[in-house]
């Protein structure tokens, strides 16, 4: 083996070791959370082990029934309905803002964006007061509405950045060729905007999935979502923190994020960088 190739080999080994270390640093918390969920309560509370000495499925079994099961279902329902509501609404709004100038459009758009700038906490009390009066407290519909306040501006903003990259001539060409507006959306505009569609859907989903401020304060029992249910593990009086349950709930809660990122990474990394012109 000559000097140069041995040097190369050394360099490559160093690189591999470096990235393995980085991987360990990033993955260890997730690993530790997952195995904690699989430990018995006494093992968690008496010593620190890096693998479960006695496998305990009770925590995960707990996830499939009672309040945990309900919380997971609630989360999924709220997320799916958020995407179902905000995706089409934000698409149409963004189309109007980017393609059909109307009086005061800039001001309306700016007002929408500013909604996103206030902290969620400043909306919680008014929402609570209104919801308890009109019967939306502790309902999934109530949560959906409050999430829409935050989801819509961001979604419109992302759509706009994608739409601006599509030349307006494609609209004109399609109308000259006899497309109706809806057929144009379906056959031309949306296919071109597929990365935008996926990015917007992922952002709406992830906001709704991880949101806690509204979830904790606008629900009581029936409509608790997963993040709200997670807080319960810390707050059970006289019982201490239920680490096993917290870890099991935490593990479940990161699954959608991992799945989404794996399948949509290609689009998300392109994200806000304006598209290649069509």
């Amino acid at each position: 083996m000559n000097k140069r190739s041995s040097k190369q080999l050394l360099g490559r080994t160093a690189k591999v070791i470096f990235f393995l270390l980085v991987l360990v640093v990033f993955l260890f918390p997730i690993y530790f959370m997952t195995i904690t969920a699989l430990k018995t309560r006494s093992e968690i509370e008496t010593r620190t082990t890096i693998y479960p000495h006695e496998l305990n499925m009770k925590n995960f079994r707990e996830m499939t029934r009672g309040p945990w099961k309900r919380a997971i279902i609630n989360s999924i329902v709220v997320c799916v309905s958020s995407v179902a509501l905000c995706l089409p609404v934000s698409f149409l709004a963004a189309y109007a803002f980017s393609r059909r100038p109307f009086m005061g459009d800039i001001h309306l758009y700016f007002w929408l964006i500013t909604n996103r700038m206030a902290p969620a906490a400043s909306f919680v009390l008014p929402f609570f007061a209104i919801y308890t009066n009109i019967g939306l407290f502790d309902t999934k519909l109530g949560l959906l509405f409050s999430y829409t306040l935050f989801n819509l501006p961001l979604a419109i903003w992302i759509w706009m950045s994608f739409m601006e990259a599509v030349p307006k001539e494609i609209d004109d060409a399609a109308f000259l060729d006899g497309f109706s507006v809806w057929r144009y959306f379906l056959r031309v505009f949306l296919p071109v905007l597929k990365p935008g569609l996926i990015t917007v859907a992922v952002f709406i989903w992830m906001f709704s999935w991880t949101e806690m401020m509204f979830a904790v304060n606008l629900t009581a029992v029936a409509s608790k979502t997963l993040p709200a249910q997670l807080t319960v593990t810390v707050m059970r009086l006289g019982y201490g923190v239920d680490w096993g349950m917290a870890a099991a709930g935490g593990t479940i809660s990161i699954i959608p994020g991992i799945v989404l990122v794996i399948f949509t990474k290609k689009y998300l990394t392109r994200g806000f960088v304006p598209l290649r012109r069509l």
Binding site: P167, D172, A173, A174, L176, G178, R187, L278
Partner: protein
Amino acid sequence: MARVEMKDVSCSYDGGMTYALRNVDMTMEQEGRYSLLGPSGCGKTTLLKIIAGLLEYTGDVYFDGQNMREVPIEDRSIAMVFQSPVVYPMSVYENLLFPIRREKLASQERERRVREISSILELDPILDAPAHKLGPADRQTVALGRALIKEAKIILLDEPLTSIEAEKRLVLRTKIKRIQEEQHKVFIYVTHDQSEALTLSDRIAVMNEGRILQFDTKEHIYEHPAYLFVGYFMGSPGMNMLEGKAKKGMMDFVDFTLPVPPDYEEYIGRHEEFEMGIRPENFTVSTRKKRDFIPFYCMDIQEKGEGLRILYLTSKEKRNELKAVGTFPDIKSGSEVWVLFPAGKIRIYDKESGKTVL
């Protein structure tokens, strides 16, 4: 037969504060090749979009005598190619098929038309490729194909070559030219490039600041520009412009005088100030003093290509500058030369309006 007529057409993008197009009257009598030529922002694309039905306007547009105001765009028998190459996110074949999908044709007939267009435009090798993944030149060719397949009476081309890389531009230009020769339609070509306008049209409308300054055959526009702007815009280099005054029956240019050409005697008799225009290739330049020749000084010489040279001339007291184009084999930079202004090529324009006085 397709006759496009515009009567008093105006268009404003800001509700009347400024006008992109002002009181345009224009008639394209029959099928043929037309172009709208002018600098950017002159309103040429606006005019094209109004013909297509894509913009609101005041005034009237008629196709074959029918007012088009209420006619929806898809029923106008119009096809358009845009500046940025627009294709739909489908295969090239489906793109070409799209505009005729609603026509009541046997599917073999549709297929035949797609094949025909694709062979004219040499799209056969990429017929199954996804159109939106092609390069700009190929995408524009597809867009051109989509415009042609409709068998529309009027084809609008909005600077279709501007966003194409230089080496492919000529290929596409040749394709457009061939199609114009084969298909008898109205072609309206918008461009800021006079060489495109000269190659791809027979009649040119020169536009500036929302108005049509002159609409005529290209030869006539070149020989008899209706405005100084037209003379300057058409030709490279453009027409020479000199400010003159009438003095003792002669045209006075401060450091030289010229006799008044017979056609303009009446006008110059009545007006003291005027502008004179003359094309750079109309001069005779000599190295020796001759009768009726005016002395100039040659400041610089540039190659124009094809054996032609551009002389940059200045008059005795440097009051007037001229460009002359020709072969000029024995003229040297930095030397004194004598220039003849042929009376028949001199054009006189009104100083205020820049309009021809004839």
